[in-house]
């Protein structure tokens, strides 16, 4: 098995425009969640939204282009540019691939196209991807992954596989989704939105918050301090929107990921933890089946909300920063255990020597995906 290293990363979120700034904000206990009014909702909606004017300033200072881009595209261009500035390499050669993970891309174009020079066609994910490719002049068309909430973890997993199979030497993975009435109204119709900051794994959890973020990781066949050891995906084959009551898919994915690493007990788990009743319950069952109940576990949804296609990438980056800094980040919003299988949810910031973590995610379509990452 070849060594697959994580070379660098970037996060564009309400908590900052670099991975380091985001980690620092979490260490200070800051959250991006606050209340916003939307014309379609009688009551305010709690979400984590990017500051539009800050994004524009950052974008115009870093990206040189005469073309018009959507809000989503701006965050993606900015995130990739930040990675290339920090870790310059010949990204235009044929050994480099860009993988985009998103659930809805430029879906806001379907509601109302407020742009002057952006055609409706950019609502199609391949057209959005081609816009990003053309800006940076990547050799290959982007690989576009859309697997609901597990898209981000899946994209990292496929980057690892493609490099390991020597298809490419470098892969940039970008997870991205912004929030529009499209997604908000949909989750609201499911009665899945919490009016307050969400409380993953807590007894009083009542639902999710949505959040905006774009997160990128540069993965390569070069040796690096941080390595992707393994990963896998599995389907519940149970329900298209409801989490499995037996956590079968999550448990299967964990088993496959640890197949070659049975001696490793991860130092912590970065869970999916959406703060819906059924998701968190399902995860507690999955972790208990895997005998991971005692492992320190957190969800980052209390800081960022559910950032959909970005979530897996964003949360993996934060977990990597945890490894580098030997700091466990508490699970914001958790107070009282509230799952049938009690987990070891992190409640206090803790300095601790860390060398491995498990990232998990689960989503609509019965999908589950997991990653095992190690620090040398």
């Amino acid at each position: 098995m070849n060594s697959i290293g994580i070379i660098g990363s970037n996060i564009i979120s309400p908590l900052g425009n670099s991975s380091e700034a985001n980690f620092e904000a979490l260490v200070k206990g800051k959250s991006g969640l606050s209340s916003f009014s939307f014309p379609f909702s009688d009551s305010p909606i709690c979400a984590s939204l990017l500051d539009q004017s800050l994004l524009e300033i950052e974008f115009s200072s870093r990206i040189k282009s005469t073309k018009e881009f959507t809000r989503l595209e701006k965050t993606v261009l900015l995130s990739i540019q930040n990675i290339l500035n920090k870790h310059p390499f010949d990204h235009k050669n044929k050994n480099t691939l860009l993988i985009l993970a998103t659930t809805k891309g430029n879906i806001d174009l379907l509601e109302k196209n407020n742009y002057t020079n952006i055609p409706m066609e950019r609502v199609y994910l391949s057209a959005f991807a081609e816009t990003i490719r053309n800006h940076f002049d990547f050799h290959h068309p982007c690989m576009v992954v859309s697997n609901a909430c597990v898209s981000g973890v899946m994209a990292i997993l496929w980057a690892q596989r493609l490099i390991s199979n020597k298809e490419y030497s470098n892969v940039i993975v970008v997870g991205t989704d912004l929030i529009s009435p499209f997604t908000l109204s949909g989750f609201k119709s499911f009665n899945a939105l919490s009016p307050e900051p969400c409380r993953p794994f807590d007894k009083n959890r009542i639902g999710i918050n949505l959040g905006e973020a774009t997160a990128s990781i540069l993965i390569s066949n070069k040796e690096s301090e941080i390595k992707i050891l393994a990963g896998s995906s599995a389907n519940d084959a149970n329900h298209i929107s409801g989490p499995s009551r037996t956590a079968e898919g999550l448990f299967m994915s964990i088993n496959k990921t640890f197949e070659q690493h049975k001696n490793i007990q991860p130092d912590f788990i970065s869970a999916h933890g959406t703060a819906t009743e059924f998701n968190d319950e399902m995860e507690s069952i999955g972790f208990s089946k895997a005998e991971f109940q005692k492992i320190p576990t957190h969800s980052l949804k209390g800081y960022y909300g559910h950032t959909l296609g970005a979530a897996g990438v964003l949360e993996t980056i934060i977990a990597i920063e945890s490894l580098k800094n030997n700091i466990l980040i508490p699970s914001r919003g958790f107070e009282i255990p509230g799952t049938s299988k009690e987990l070891n949810i992190i409640t206090k910031l803790e300095k601790k020597t860390l060398s491995t973590f498990l990232k998990t995610s689960s989503g609509f379509g019965g999908s589950n995906a997991t990653l095992l990452i190690e620090k040398n």
Partner: protein, 214 residues
């Protein structure tokens, strides 16, 4: 160099279902997709009422899988966590996206429906296929401008080399208004290098393109 074979393939377009090169079901071109899908449902003797609650993308995906399941022996090989599903298209879930967008287009008539919203993700078709056929293996949904045999080939071969997956159902399930079509094929890893290909075609980009263009 390929170490895998193409097992069977099913295409559906222009109200016609073709299995391994032979037309097995056809209905009049004047019929809408919904009418065609209902007739095909009865042809396959599906007995799966949930089918009628699905969006068109999922219906097309379900019918495509029913097609390849008619090939002898296929039912036994897909029912395993070593069988992956890798599907792709151009338009994601655009049909359901448009219905959902319309339901929230003005504040007077603001009635988003959860049963529509759940289909505004392209990988729901993977979930529907997984549930119907009890498939728990690897899942991947990819988007591309047009049918990309190369991307499907590389993804499948990579999965065979880097995981315990030994079989994959791959293809293209596209639905955008009047433009819809599907190709689904099964590819299998040859575990024993001395094993003969038998009557099967090798799994190559060229052969996948032939299946699509047939």
């Amino acid at each position: 160099m390929t170490n895998s074979i193409l097992h069977s393939a099913c295409t559906i377009r222009e109200n016609k279902i073709t299995l391994n090169g032979e037309a097995i079901f056809e209905s009049d071109l004047t019929k809408t997709f919904s009418e065609f899908a209902k007739e095909a449902y009865h042809y396959f003797d599906l007995n799966y009422p949930k089918f009628f609650k699905m969006d068109n993308l999922s219906k097309l995906g379900m019918l495509s899988i029913e097609g390849i399941l008619l090939t002898q022996g296929v039912r036994n090989i897909i029912n395993s966590d070593k069988c992956a599903l890798i599907l792709s298209n151009h338009s994601s879930s655009i049909e359901s996206d448009k219905i959902h967008a319309k339901s929230i287009s003005n504040l007077v008539n603001f009635f988003p429906s959860p049963s529509v919203f759940v289909y505004t993700l392209p990988n729901i078709v993977l979930g529907e296929i997984a549930i119907k056929n009890k498939m728990q293996g690897e899942n991947l949904f990819l988007l591309s401008e047009k049918f990309e045999a190369k991307q499907l080939f590389i993804s499948t071969e990579t999965l065979f080399e880097t995981s315990s997956t030994n079989t994959a159902i791959c293809g293209w399930i596209e639905f955008d208004g009047n433009k819809w079509e599907s190709l689904v094929y099964i590819t299998q890893k040859i575990e024993d290098p001395n094993q003969k290909n038998g009557n099967f075609m090798p799994h190559t980009i060229q052969e996948i393109n032939k299946l699509y263009n047939a």
